[in-house]
Structure formats: C-alpha cells, structure tokens
C-alpha cells in the first residue's frame, strides 16, 4: 500500500465514526459532536488535497518555488467558522427543547408527544 494514501483512508474512517455517532445515539448533543467529527473528516480530505510535496505554506517568499494550493485552505477556513456558528445554533435549539420537554432524549420526547395531556 502506498503510504501517501493514508490521509484519504483516515478521512473515510473519521467520516464513518462521525456517521456512526449520528445514527446510533438519540442524544442530540452527542449527534452534534458526531457531526463535527464528520465535518473534520472533510477538512482532512480537503487540506490533504492542497498539499504538494516539497512545498510550503502559501505565503510567498524569495527563493521558494512550490506552495500548497491556497484554495482548499480558503474553503476550509470559512467552513470552520460557519461550522461553529451552526454548532451554536444546534445547541441553542437543544437548550430550548430541554426547557420545553424537560428532556433531550428523542425517544422520551416522542413518548411525551404521544400522551395527549402530558
């Protein structure tokens, strides 16, 4: 196996872990954590694609000819900041759900919804 491929495989493994957390647990905060891991997998993939062997960070200087690609960096940079804003939004919704139902467990809330006079 080519060692240079490990970043791709690791990104897929991280993505699987994130997906598993989202699917297997009912606690929405845990699901948000899973989503951030899923997101991190995408970040690893993008940043790995931008790298070039023998290159350096895309800050131009004398005597350096190879730079990693700046575009994936820009995309991921903004994605991280938007990601934390979305995480905050999700957490705010969860806090409101907890105030409304006294629980954030999906099954529990569904049971409460089924009882007409709960």
């Amino acid at each position: 196996m080519d060692l240079g491929l490990i970043n791709g495989y690791a990104a897929v493994a991280l993505l699987m872990t994130g997906l598993y957390i989202v699917l297997a647990y009912d606690n929405p905060i845990k699901r948000l954590i899973g989503l951030s891991i899923f997101q991190a997998a995408i970040f690893v993939l993008y940043i790995s694609m931008g790298r070039i062997a023998g290159g350096t960070a895309p800050i131009l200087a004398e005597g350096i000819e190879r730079y990693s690609h700046p575009l994936p960096h820009v995309l991921i940079l903004t994605a991280i900041v938007v990601g934390v804003a979305m995480l905050a939004l999700g957490l705010a919704l969860i806090v409101r759900i907890h105030e409304e139902y006294g629980s954030i467990d999906e099954q529990h809330i569904l049971e409460l919804e089924r009882e007409p006079d709960a």
């Binding site: 690791a10 891991i37 991190a40 730079y67 690609h69 991280i80 938007v82 804003a85 705010a92 954030i104």
Partner: protein
C-alpha cells in the same frame, strides 16, 4: 523535512485523531466527550500545520479547542450530560450503514492521489498558477490565502460572513427573545 518523516508524523497524528473519535463514540458521559472534542480539534490543528495550512490551523485551534468546547460545555450545563443507552438494534443498523458507506468510500479512496503528488487536478488546474503567480501583479500580497479569501473570492466570503451573522441572530432569538415572552406570561 523529508517526505518519510512527514508521513510518519502524519500517520501518528491520524491515529490519535481516530482513537479520540472512537473514544468519543464510546463515551457515555457527555462532559468527558466534549473535553475530548477539544483534544480532537487540537490534534487536527497540529495536522493542518504539518500539511502547510497555517491559516486553517490557526482557526481550528481557536475555534475547535477554544470556543466550540466552551459552547458545548455551557449547553451541557443547561441540559443533561448523561447519554441514555439506545437499543442494540439501532447500534447494529448504524454499524451496518456506516460500514456500507465507508466500504464504498474506502474503495474510492484507493484511487485517490497520494499525499503531496504534484500531478493531481488540484495542482494542474490553471487557476493554481493564476493564484500563485498572477496575484503578485494584481494584488501584491505575500499571503495568497488572504488574497483569494478577500479579493478573488470576495463574494463567497461576504456570503460566509452573512451566514455567521444570521446564525448568531438565530441563536440570540432562540435564547434571549423567547425567554422574555415567558416572563411576560409569568408576570401576567
């Protein structure tokens, strides 16, 4: 740094990342899980430094290890930090699904270009040369990431800033606005 040494450090960091992710998945105490996401983000920032993405590493360190951990902890303090166990069937189904998706992607990943290969579409595309060479005449800033972020892709960045602003607005409406209404009801 030689390419071999880099790959070795890269592999170690990836193993730490994966181990942390799996530990988070198995952790039932969500306070511990939130702290581990901080560790996860810090390792991710180290990986970005290694892969020559300084700007991204900066942001990830401040956002992931700092702010999002704090936000998660304060949300946990307001809700519950015990994760209720879910049924075995759900775990099996989740495992099956994620191995199906992961298997397909692993198959695809074996065809992806190796780390640092110079002959990939990313590096061969004419826009790469434009950003790295033409930007010296057009913008004349050493940090190409800044040039691309604020000038070539200014529209994009304006959109991102608007998204951040709107998300902040939504959080404030959810957490501050509704609560005042409750108080009016309480007072009435």
């Amino acid at each position: 740094m030689s390419e071999h040494a880099l790959l070795a450090i890269d592999a170690v960091l990836l193993i730490i990342l994966l181990t942390t992710a799996i530990a988070i998945a198995r952790q039932r105490n969500l306070f511990a899980a939130a702290m581990m996401t901080g560790l996860f983000s810090l390792t991710l920032a180290c990986l970005f430094v290694l892969l020559d993405a300084m700007d991204v590493a900066f942001t990830e360190a401040a956002v992931g290890a700092g702010i999002s951990t704090v936000l998660m902890l304060s949300a946990l303090a307001l809700t519950e930090y015990r994760d209720h166990p879910t049924s075995r069937g759900q775990h099996t189904l989740a495992l099956l699904l994620c191995f199906a998706v992961g298997g397909l992607l692993m198959f695809a990943a074996s065809e992806w270009p190796a780390l640092g290969a110079p002959d990939t579409p990313v590096h061969q595309h004419p826009i790469t040369a434009h950003y790295l060479e033409q930007s010296q005449q057009e913008i004349d800033l050493p940090n190409v990431v800044t040039s691309v972020l604020s000038s070539y892709r200014g529209y994009d960045t304006l959109g991102e800033v608007t998204v951040v602003f709107t998300a902040g607005l939504a959080v404030l409406i959810l957490l501050l606005g509704v609560r005042r209404d409750n108080h009016e009801e309480d007072d009435a």
